[in-house]
């Protein structure tokens, strides 16, 4: 399954400044974990950020092991710093 992953702040920097990265997921059930592994394989900087971020699925925070479907809006969020 192919998915676009939206990246922000430190995760965007880790992906060489790309706001969206398209990942190819080969697991039988693709999850947020699958997405993270795909990003780590492509961008080494993601390895040192493991555990820091949260998954956003269709505009909601969801557990990293949530199953993903084609067409889902997926984002990886760094700890938030509004205000």
């Amino acid at each position: 399954m192919t998915l676009d992953v939206l990246l922000f702040a430190g995760f965007r920097d880790a992906a060489d400044g790309q706001p969206v990265v398209t990942v190819e997921l080969t697991d039988a059930t693709a999850t947020g974990e699958s997405v993270y592994r795909a990003l780590e394989a492509r961008f080494p900087a993601f390895r040192s950020l493991r555990g820091v971020g949260r998954l956003a699925l269709n505009l909601e925070y969801r557990p990293m092991d949530s199953a993903l479907s084609p067409g889902d809006e997926v984002a990886l969020l760094m700890p938030v710093a509004g205000g």
Binding site: L6, F8, A9, G10, D13, R54, L55, A56, L59, E60, Y61, R62, P63, M64, A75, L77, M78, P79, V80, A81, G82, G83
Partner: protein, 154 residues
């Protein structure tokens, strides 16, 4: 009391405190409380020159709306207005505003406090802080480390 009026905004526009106070005013409300978060000139011993605010906008708008609803569910407020700015802000500019109104002051104070504390650990907004070592040529930037509320799914 009728349902609380909820107003949220996310955008580059300069925050207008008078407009926010007017927006939450209510004949039944004897108290209005306004919090402004302001860009300050220092952080971690460094001199801050400006801050760039960015967001995952569709999700941030949704969470700001959810936050206003949660405030009204927890506190007997007549109205809630929450605004967060995006873009480059100079020292002294307001980045966030929370205004609440209630019949008596306790609820307005507590609602405003709860709202800003919750916003800061849930809404997907980030800040890139530009700082200087004091010389005119110096301009470095770093993402301010944020925090996730402990109850968010992991």
């Amino acid at each position: 009391m009728s349902a609380a009026r909820l107003m949220v905004h996310l955008g580059p526009e300069v925050i207008d405190p008078a407009a926010l106070l007017a927006a939450v005013a209510d004949p039944a409300a004897g108290a209005v409380d306004l919090f402004l978060g302001i860009v300050r000139d220092h952080a971690d011993g460094r001199q801050v020159t400006r801050i760039d605010y960015s967001a995952y906008e569709p999700m941030a708008r949704r969470l700001l709306a959810d936050l206003a609803e949660q405030v009204a569910a927890r506190f007997p407020v007549a109205a809630v207005a929450i605004t967060h700015r995006l873009g480059t802000l100079a020292v002294g500019e307001a980045s966030v505003a929370i205004a609440t109104s209630s019949a008596h002051r306790a609820a307005a104070f507590e609602a405003t406090r709860w709202a800003i504390d919750r916003l800061k650990t849930t809404v997907p907004i980030w800040k890139l802080e530009h700082f200087s070592d004091g010389t005119s040529a110096s301009d470095e930037a770093r993402w301010v480390s944020g925090t996730f509320a402990p109850d968010l799914p992991v």
